[in-house]
């Protein structure tokens, strides 16, 4: 299995794509009227004219567009994502500070959704007319159709207010003492509702897709052959059918990687989860251009790497793809 050529090819694509993302994002943000000086005035309840002029000068916003673009691209080329106007901190520091919280949330939710989604999909595919199948379809459609913030707030009302077993907001309770074990337990408690909320969307996708692809596979000739040679139902499903029906699910899961940034914005906001989504929202509201660009650049990077990995995994589980580049 020759991997060198496709990988090199994709890295070249990736670099071109990243450059385009950089220039396009910068230009688009520049097109939007208003800037950080306005939002600083907003946060301050107003500001005098010379203060606003000074802010624009400090951040080089009085320079022509092309000069600003050249400066930005130049600094990214030296692996410097710039300085946040809003927080007076390097953007890289901000992203690294927020990344673990988002990864924890999104990866847990993805894994949960993938495992449960595939299981539900398999079960309902084996008996498409059964009660379970209808229940799965209903849950999946409901989870997909309900807006995330609504699901989140309903869960909060149910499990934080009416039956107060989970905390309302944040990632940890600062008053918890007693060492790392209790702190971990506390983070776990804070995670339950946001993870569940985020997982409902993915769960819907995976279970529907897995059900459909499983049904297709179960109707194919080689499954009939496997059954004919006397394998048990369990062996047929687990050994033959599942592996083949997984490839679309894995592809989709890979595509959902971008949700590391995008999908979590709403959930993070509702649950005050201190991750990248919250940072993205804050910097968009504040017109903190370097931070927005930094997050967009970073998420483009994540998507590209995610796609590359997906490709490799699909090659691994589906020999038919290996031949093509």
């Amino acid at each position: 299995m020759n991997l060198v050529i496709p990988v090199v090819q994709r890295i070249v694509y990736a670099v071109v794509l990243l450059a385009a993302v950089l220039v396009l994002n910068f230009s688009m943000l520049h097109l939007a009227p208003g800037d950080i000086a306005d939002t600083i005035a907003l946060a301050s309840g107003g500001a005098d004219a010379d203060v606003l002029i000074q802010i624009r000068k400090d951040y080089g916003l009085d320079q022509p567009f092309i000069v600003q673009l050249a400066r930005y691209v130049g600094s990214v080329l030296t692996f410097d994502l710039g300085y946040s106007y809003f927080y007076n901190q390097p953007v890289t520091t901000l992203i690294i500070e927020k990344l673990p919280a988002t990864l924890l949330l999104v990866i847990t939710a993805q894994v949960l959704a993938l495992v449960v989604g595939v299981l539900l999909g398999v079960f309902s595919a084996r008996n498409p007319k059964g009660i379970l199948s209808y229940i799965v379809t209903f849950i999946a459609l409901f989870g997909y159709a309900a807006p995330v913030f609504w699901t989140g707030i309903l869960l909060l009302i149910a499990f934080s207010l009416k039956i107060p077993i989970f905390p309302v907001a944040g990632m940890s309770d600062v008053t918890v003492e007693g060492g790392w074990f209790f702190e971990m337990l506390d983070v776990g408690r804070h995670m339950v509702l946001p993870v569940f909320t985020l997982a409902t969307i993915f769960l819907a996708l995976y279970s529907r897709l897995c059900r459909a692809s499983m049904m297709e596979v179960l109707g194919s000739d080689y499954v009939r052959t496997a059954k004919a040679k006397g394998l048990s139902e369990r062996q047929v499903v687990m050994k033959h059918a599942l592996k083949n029906s997984l490839s679309p699910v894995v592809t989709l899961a890979g595509l959902q990687f971008s949700a590391v940034v995008s999908g979590a914005v709403l959930v993070e906001t509702v649950f005050s989860w201190p991750g990248l989504g919250t940072l993205a929202l804050q910097s968009i509201i504040a017109r903190d251009t370097p931070t927005i660009l930094g997050i967009l650049f970073f998420s483009a990077l994540v998507v590209i790497i995610g796609n590359l990995l997906t490709d490799l995994v699909v090659r691994f589980i589906d020999p038919r793809v290996r031949g093509k580049t």
Binding site: D38, G45, T175, S272
Partner: protein
């Protein structure tokens, strides 16, 4: 009927105000951790170079000011144990409390006061606060003399709360740009009742008791945890469940009314009269149609303030007839309030020669709004003005900067707007009407482009005398002229409320509310 309704609303407002006033004479208790929430992450924690309530709430715990205020607009000693204003009003002598120290143990001297005033004057967005200050003399370590080019009545309020944080010269005077100083968010050293333990963006700010606080016996609390919770619904649930004990600047009418019914919570509108947020319908006085005062007045008669108070604000706030906050001692309640009168409005426009076409339309106008909460008000104006033959187009903006760009470049007919008084009218009110402050590209300057020589003169007079009675007289006339020419139609103060759990004693009710030291707050 309308009159009765109005007095009923006022009576209801007064009942709520008294019901949730200062806690009963319960003995304050020492100790405990107060978990409260703020609505956004502040840029940093140093109010000397950053205005705004998100910096102000933690900032006034960390940094002490020279003066503090009670709930009746009376200045009280804080870092300044006393002060004397010279006969001619051109100098103010400040006598500092003896033995006061910063959190790092270094003494607070008049040098720090002089340095703080210089820093604020150079960096704070409100230039009018210390503009007349020519020098700060420091004859000895405990005396500072502020020299002024003219009597400056706004000085007292400008020396209080978050407007003049006394910052240590030995830390911030190291030559770095104060606005971007690393110690603004890390290892912050002030002299306020609480010290900084941890500032985690988008998570929390943790403060602990300053054992060497210069006000003996205070503060009562061991710790304050300010949790940053952006989502209004989440904050409401956290308050209801008791996870958060206090939250200020709440203005979602439905949530406020819901929490009023909760027996564990106190809901109070007190503590916002100094910050003084007033909402109004602004006119472009250079606009083709809106340059005519008759048009502006007819619009005011067609826009029903009482309807907005009932249907949109759900009774959470009262009327404001002028741009000065109704809680201010300078508020003039006797000006024309432009109550709903469609017939009068139509007649005014008819008499002025604005003829309606076959569709009943006299002319079109646009109305802008810049944030989600203003949308229902802007949308209400459309059908309201249809009744007087004005065809209104509601223009939304993608976000605040988009709106700010339009308004500050004077590309609008009408807009919903919200401007804060920030203590003295010199600081937050003059900017809206001063003809010198018509500045393109600057939001919350005189974006109405209004200019009136007498109004300019009255502001000049009221801003340069320490005689409060004279000032009241000048501001009364000032508000009278503005109500008469109507560059903007004042609607109501923002319905800010402080929600606190009944276990919280002495929830802040002074004019600066939560942007003042919480050294007397305690847990029952």
């Amino acid at each position: 009927m309308k009159k009765i309704l109005k007095s009923l609303t006022i009576a209801a407002a007064m009942i709520t105000a008294t019901a949730v006033g200062p806690a009963t004479a319960e003995e304050p208790k020492k100790g405990g951790t107060l978990v409260m929430s703020i609505q956004a992450t502040p840029r940093h924690l140093n109010p000397a170079v950053q205005s705004g309530t998100f910096t102000g709430q933690p900032g006034t715990q960390l940094f002490a000011a020279l003066i503090r205020y009670d709930e009746g607009w009376e200045p009280q000693p804080y870092l300044a144990k006393s002060w004397e204003i010279a006969e001619d009003g051109l100098s103010v002598k400040i006598n500092l409390v003896e033995g006061a120290t910063f959190h790092d143990g270094k003494p607070i001297t008049s040098e720090d006061v002089a340095f703080s005033i210089e820093t604020v004057k150079a960096n704070h967005p409100f230039k009018s606060m210390f503009a007349p200050v020519t020098a700060v003399e420091t004859p000895d370590a405990n005396t500072a003399i502020i020299k002024l080019s003219q009597p400056h009545p706004a000085l007292m309020l400008a020396m209080s709360s978050q407007l003049l944080s006394i910052i240590p010269k030995h830390i911030y005077g190291d030559g770095q740009d104060a606005k971007a100083h690393p110690r603004n968010s890390e290892d912050v050293v002030g002299s306020g009742p609480f010290k900084l333990v941890e500032f985690k963006r988008d998570q929390h700010i943790i403060l602990e008791r300053n054992e060497n606080y210069f006000m003996k016996g205070l503060p009562y609390l061991d710790k304050i945890v300010m949790r940053i919770i952006k989502d209004t619904s989440a904050r409401t649930i956290a308050l209801e469940s008791g996870e958060v004990m206090m939250s200020g600047f709440e203005q979602e009418a439905r949530d406020i009314n819901r929490m009023k019914k909760n027996e564990n919570l106190n809901v109070s509108p007190e503590g916002y009269s100094a910050i003084g947020p007033v909402n109004w319908l602004a006119f472009n006085t250079k606009g083709e149609k809106t340059s005519d005062p008759v048009v502006r007045k007819a619009i005011a008669h067609a826009v029903d303030r009482n309807f907005l108070l009932k249907a949109v604000m759900l009774g959470t706030t009262g009327p404001a007839k002028t741009g000065i906050h109704p809680g201010s001692p300078f508020y003039n309640d006797s000006v024309e309030s432009y109550d709903l009168d469609i017939d009068k409005a139509n007649k005014m426009l008819d008499d002025a020669g604005y003829k309606a076409d076959d569709n009943g339309v006299r002319f079109p106008l646009t109305i802008d709004y810049g944030w989600a909460a203003a949308k229902p008000v802007a949308e209400y104006v459309k059908p309201a003005l249809k009744k007087i033959g004005i065809d209104v187009t509601v223009r939304s903006s993608a976000d605040f900067p988009t709106w700010a760009k339009r308004i500050s470049n004077h590309e609008f007919d009408m807009t919903f707007d919200n401007v804060f008084n920030w203590g003295d009218p010199v600081i937050g009110v003059h900017r809206t009407y001063s003809s010198e402050n018509i500045k393109k590209g600057v939001i919350w300057s005189n974006t109405q482009q209004y200019s009136n020589a007498r109004v300019d003169e009255l502001m000049q007079l009221a801003g340069s005398t320490n005689n409060i009675e004279e000032r009241k007289k000048y501001y009364a006339e000032f508000q009278q002229i503005l109500a008469d020419e109507l560059p903007l139609y004042p609607l109501f103060p923002s319905p800010y409320h402080t929600i606190s759990n009944k276990k919280v004693g002495n929830a802040p009710v002074s004019i600066w509310g939560l942007s003042s030291p919480m050294d007397k707050v305690f847990l029952k």
